[in-house]
C-alpha cells in the first residue's frame, strides 16, 4: 500500500519536474490533513499525494482541462474506473486525449469487494499489481436484487426507487453525464418540482442513457443519500452488451458502442434475425 503511494508520488514528481505535464490531478492531503482532490502544479508538493479513499476524478479532470488553457497538459492519478471513464469521455470527444497522462494504480482486494468491481485495475497500471476482480453477480448484494418474478421485482424496485429525493446526486456524480441541458431537467421527460419523482422517467431514462457507456465505477450509488443500489441497474445491461456484442465500455478507444451500429457493422459475418424480435420471417441474407 505504502509502496503504491510512494510510487505514484515519485512518478508524479518526475512528470512535473521534467515538465512533461503542467499539473497532476490527484487525491492529496491538505494542510488540515484532509484528503480531497487537488491539482498539484509543483514537483515539491507531490509528497502530499494519497491514493485512498475511492474518489472519482474523471469529471474533475474534464473540468480542469476545460478551465485551463488549451496547451495545459494534465496527469491524473486515478483508479481503473477513472481510466475507463476518461476513455469513454474521450470517445465522446469531451477532451483531447493527448493532453492527459494517466497514472493509474490498482485497487486492493478490499476495495474491489466493496465496489463489486470486476476490473479493479487500470489497463496499464503505473503502480500496484493487478488483482482479479469480483464477479458482482455472485455477490448477494446484487444477486438479491435481481431475483424474483416480475411482481417481486416491481415491489422491490418501487420501494427502492421510491426513496428518491431527486437530489440529482447520481447524475452529478456520474463521470459520464456531461450534457447541458439534461433531459432529466426537462418537463417533457421528467416533471420538475415533483418530489418524489416519477419513477420510470427519472431513473430509467438516466440508467438507459448510460447503458452502453457506464463503466461501473459506482459513483452514482456512492453519491446517493438514500442508498439506492443504482449500480445494479447498469450491471445487467453491461453484462448483456458483453455477452451479445463482446463490448465493454471504457476498454477500446476505437470501438463505438454496438448500440450505435447496425448488425452489419457489429459482426463481419453478417446478421441473423435476432430471436427477440417478433417475426414470422426466416433470416435472409443480402
Amino acid at each position: 500500500m505504502l509502496e503504491l503511494i510512494h510510487s505514484i508520488r515519485e512518478k508524479s514528481r518526475e512528470l512535473l519536474a521534467a515538465g512533461r505535464v503542467d499539473g497532476v490531478l490527484c487525491l492529496a492531503r491538505d494542510r488540515f490533513d484532509v484528503v480531497q482532490p487537488r491539482l498539484i502544479l509543483r514537483a515539491e508538493k507531490t509528497g502530499s499525494i494519497e491514493t485512498s479513499p475511492k474518489w472519482n476524478l474523471a469529471k474533475l479532470a474534464l473540468r480542469t482541462l476545460r478551465r485551463a488553457g488549451p496547451s495545459f497538459r494534465l496527469a491524473v492519478a486515478c483508479r481503473g474506473c477513472d481510466e475507463r471513464a476518461l476513455l469513454e469521455l474521450a470517445k465522446r470527444n469531451q477532451f483531447d486525449p493527448t493532453r492527459i497522462t494517466l497514472l493509474g494504480y490498482t485497487c486492493s482486494r478490499e476495495q474491489a469487494e466493496s465496489c463489486l468491481c470486476d476490473r479493479p485495475y487500470p489497463e496499464k497500471p503505473a503502480a500496484g499489481e493487478k488483482i482479479e476482480g469480483v464477479d458482482p453477480f455472485a455477490d448477494p448484494r446484487v444477486s438479491a436484487l435481481l431475483t424474483g418474478d416480475e411482481g417481486e421485482r416491481t415491489a422491490r424496485w418501487t420501494g427502492l426507487l421510491g426513496r428518491c429525493i431527486k437530489c440529482y446526486g447520481c447524475r452529478n456524480a456520474c463521470p459520464i453525464c456531461v450534457c447541458t441541458p439534461c433531459k432529466l431537467e426537462d418537463d417533457l421527460w421528467v416533471e420538475r418540482a415533483v418530489v418524489p419523482t416519477e419513477l420510470i422517467p427519472y431513473h430509467l431514462i438516466r440508467a438507459f442513457h448510460l447503458s452502453d457507456t457506464c463503466v461501473a465505477c459506482g459513483a452514482c450509488q456512492d453519491a446517493c443519500p438514500v442508498g439506492i443500489p443504482l449500480l445494479a441497474l447498469q450491471l445487467v445491461m453491461r453484462r448483456r452488451l458483453r455477452e451479445r456484442y463482446g463490448y465493454e465500455a471504457g476498454l477500446e478507444a476505437d470501438r463505438k458502442s454496438p448500440l450505435l451500429m447496425d448488425f452489419d457493422h457489429a459482426s463481419p459475418a453478417g446478421f441473423e434475425l435476432p430471436a427477440w424480435t417478433v417475426s414470422s420471417e426466416a433470416p435472409h441474407e443480402r
Partner: protein, 571 residues
C-alpha cells in the same frame, strides 16, 4: 381566429355507426385550442374539400386537423390539398385516421372506439401545437458528371449523359475503354464478336467532344453532396480536381482464379473460362474432348452467391466448340443450370440440340480431374442417374464467378456508400436498384452485381437517366431529394449551443449526414441537409435531445404520448 379547426368526416355513414361523431364533436369542441369543429359527409369529394379549404382560409385558423380515413386512402390527397394551401407546410395540417384505424376495427366496441377517436384527436392537437417545419437548403447544380470505370456500363452511361448535353469525365484505371469486353471473344446470347460490339462505343466516345477521357487515372478524394461533388483524380502525370453534380460508379468486377481447385495451375490443360475466351479470340482451335465444370468457387461457403454470368458464358463456349467440330465431345458438369428468361432458355436448348452433354453432380461430390502430366480423365458421380461416370478429356474448363474489385471498399468509403458482404456496391433498396444511400451517387454494371455486358450497358443508361434528373436542374433543393411525391419529411436540426459533441449522431447516421465540426473551440455536430434523409436515428440517440427532426420533434411526440390515454377511472 386563433386555434385549430377540426373537421370530422362522416364518410357517408361508414364511421358514425361505431364512432359517435356527435358526442365526439362536442368533446373535442371543449378541448383547449380548438376553434371550430365541423362535421362533413365526404371530405374527399371536391365540393366538401373546396368548402373545407374555403372555411379554413377564411377563418385564418392556426392549424387544421382532419379526422377521416387513413393516409393511404383518400385522406392522403385531402392533406396534400391542405398542405398546398399552407404553402407546402405540413406542420399546420394533421390527419387523424378514425376510419381504418378506429371505426372499422372496433365495431364491437362503439364506446371504446369513440373514446379512442377522441384520444387520437387530442394527441394530434397536441402535436399541432409543437409541430415545426425544417428550413430547406438549395444548392446550385454543377452540370457535369463523373463516370468511374469505362467498361460496358460506364461507356453507356457516359454516352447517354454526353448526348443529353452535359460534360462527362470518364475515368478509367487502365489504358482505354472496354472493360471486361476486351477480354472476351464473343458475347452471349447473340454470339456477336466482342470487338465488333465494342467498336461503335469506343468510336462514339472518342468522337464525342463532351466526354473527357481520363486514362490510367484513379479517384483519390471526394467530398460534397448531390449537385455539388468535389473530386480529386490522380494519374501518373499529376492530380486533377473536378467539380461535378453527380457520380456514377461503374467499376466492374474481377475474375476469380481457382488456384488449387481441380488441379488448376498444375495441369496446363485445366483452364478458366477467361483463358478459353482468350484462346478463342486468338483463333486457336479446341482439342476434341472438353469437360466444363460449373460453380467452381461459387455457391460455396466463402462465396455463397450465384454469379449469374458463368452458366451462360460456359454454355456459349461449349456450343461453339461443338458447332465448330461436330465430332467433338463436350460435356458440362453442373450443379444447377441457371439460364433465366426466354432468351437464355432458348440459348440453353440450342446447346443441347448441338449435342453438348450435361451431367449433374452434387455439391458434396465434386468431380475429380485425373491425369499424369496432362489431363486424361474426369470422374464424376452423376447425381441424376446415380452412376459413376468416367469422362475422357483433353482439356477441362473451370467456370468461375466474378468477384468484387478490391478497391470497392475504398471507393465506398470515399463516396459514403455501402458495400455488401461480398464487396459489391450496395443498392439503396430493391426498388431503387441504381441508387445508393448517398443521393447523387449511382451504381451500375458488375460493380453492383455480376451482369452480362448487355445488362451492364442497360444499367449504365439507367444510371445516366438518374444522374440527368439531377444534372438537368439548375438548382437542387434538399427537400426534393426524396422519392416521395410530397418531398422529404424534413432535415435533422441541431440546436445551437446545446450539443456536447458526443458523436452519437455521427456514429448512428446511416447516410453520414452528421459530422463534427469545431465551433469556438468545442466540437459540435452539424447535419448536412443534402445528405439527411430524415430517418430520425440521430434524434433517438442524442442524449439530451439537441438534434431534432422539426417535423417530428420530441415535444410534439411527447405531447402525443402524454395525451394517448385519457386518465383511467380508479380501478
Amino acid at each position: 381566429m386563433p386555434g385549430v379547426m377540426v373537421f370530422l368526416c362522416r364518410c357517408c355513414g361508414r364511421i358514425p355507426p361505431t364512432v359517435d361523431l356527435l358526442a365526439l364533436g362536442e368533446k373535442i369542441g371543449r378541448e383547449e385550442g380548438v376553434a371550430v369543429v365541423e362535421t362533413r359527409d365526404t371530405l374527399c369529394l371536391p365540393e366538401d374539400r373546396a368548402a373545407m379549404l374555403r372555411s379554413f382560409e377564411e377563418s385564418g385558423a392556426s392549424g387544421i386537423l382532419v379526422a377521416a380515413c387513413s393516409p393511404y386512402g383518400k385522406a392522403g390527397d385531402v392533406v396534400t390539398t391542405l398542405s398546398a394551401a399552407c404553402d407546402g407546410d405540413r406542420s399546420h395540417v394533421r390527419l387523424v385516421d378514425i376510419r381504418e384505424g378506429c371505426a372499422w376495427i372496433h365495431r364491437g366496441d362503439p364506446a371504446g372506439a369513440t373514446a379512442k377517436a377522441g384520444d387520437l384527436i387530442r394527441m394530434n392537437l397536441g402535436f399541432l401545437r409543437h409541430g415545426k417545419r425544417s428550413a430547406d437548403a438549395v444548392v446550385a447544380v454543377r452540370p457535369e458528371c463523373i463516370v468511374v470505370g469505362a467498361g460496358s456500363a460506364g461507356m453507356a452511361a457516359a454516352l447517354s449523359i454526353a448526348r443529353a448535353g452535359h460534360r462527362v469525365h470518364l475515368v478509367e484505371r487502365g489504358m482505354g475503354g472496354g472493360g471486361m469486353l476486351k477480354l472476351l471473344s464473343h458475347v452471349y446470347p447473340t454470339d456477336a464478336g466482342a470487338e465488333e460490339k465494342l467498336k461503335p462505343s469506343l468510336e462514339a466516345i472518342s468522337a464525342q467532344p463532351l466526354i473527357v477521357f481520363h486514362a490510367k487515372t484513379r479517384v483519390v478524394a471526394a467530398t460534397g453532396y448531390a449537385g455539388d461533388f468535389k473530386i480529386r483524380l490522380a494519374s501518373g502525370t499529376g492530380e486533377t480536381n473536378l467539380h461535378v453534380g453527380a457520380v456514377i460508379l461503374a467499376t466492374g468486377a474481377g475474375v476469380w482464379l481457382p488456384r488449387g481447385l481441380y488441379r488448376y495451375g498444375e495441369l496446363k490443360e485445366v483452364l478458366t473460362l477467361m483463358e478459353l475466351e482468350r484462346r478463342r479470340r486468338e483463333g486457336r482451335e479446341s482439342p476434341r474432348r472438353t469437360v466444363f465444370i460449373h460453380c467452381v468457387g461459387a455457391r460455396c461457403p466463402e462465396r455463397p452467391y450465384c454469379a449469374t454470368i458463368c452458366c451462360p458464358s460456359s454454355i456459349k463456349n461449349a456450343a461453339w466448340i461443338k458447332r465448330a467440330d461436330p465430332g467433338a465431345e463436350v460435356t458440362i458438369l453442373h450443379r444447377d443450370i441457371m439460364m433465366p428468361g426466354a432468351i437464355l432458355e432458348r440459348y440453353y436448348r440450342g446447346a443441347l440440340e448441338a449435342g453438348v452433354r450435361f451431367v449433374r453432380f452434387a455439391a458434396d461430390a465434386p468431380p475429380v480431374v485425373s491425369g499424369d502430366g496432362k489431363v486424361e480423365n474426369v470422374s464424376v458421380f452423376d447425381a441424376i442417374n446415380g452412376v459413376e461416370r468416367e469422362i475422357a478429356a483433353d482439356q477441362v474448363i473451370l467456370s468461375t464467378p466474378l468477384v468484387a474489385n478490391a478497391d470497392n471498399a475504398k471507393l465506398a468509403d470515399l463516396f459514403h456508400i455501402g458495400i455488401d458482404r461480398y464487396g459489391f456496391f450496395r443498392e439503396d433498396d430493391p426498388l431503387h436498384p441504381l441508387e445508393t444511400r448517398q443521393a447523387g451517387v449511382f451504381i451500375c454494371g458488375s460493380a453492383r452485381w455480376p451482369v452480362a455486358s448487355g445488362d451492364a450497358a442497360a444499367q449504365g443508361e439507367g444510371a445516366a437517366m438518374k444522374a440527368l434528373a439531377i444534372l438537368g436542374r439548375e438548382r437542387l433543393s434538399a427537400r426534393s431529394l426524396s422519392r416521395l411525391p410530397e418531398g422529404k419529411l424534413g432535415h435533422a436540426r441541431i440546436e445551437d449551443g446545446f450539443c456536447s459533441g458526443c458523436g452519437n449522431c455521427v456514429a448512428v447516421c446511416p447516410y453520414e449526414a452528421c459530422a463534427l465540426q469545431k465551433v469556438g473551440g468545442a466540437l459540435v455536430s452539424r447535419a448536412n441537409k443534402m445528405r439527411c434523409r430524415a430517418c430520425g436515428s440521430c434524434m433517438s440517440v442524442c442524449p439530451n435531445g439537441t438534434i431534432q427532426m422539426p417535423e417530428h420533434n420530441a415535444r410534439a411526440v411527447g405531447a402525443m404520448i402524454r395525451r394517448a390515454f385519457s386518465p383511467r377511472e380508479a380501478r
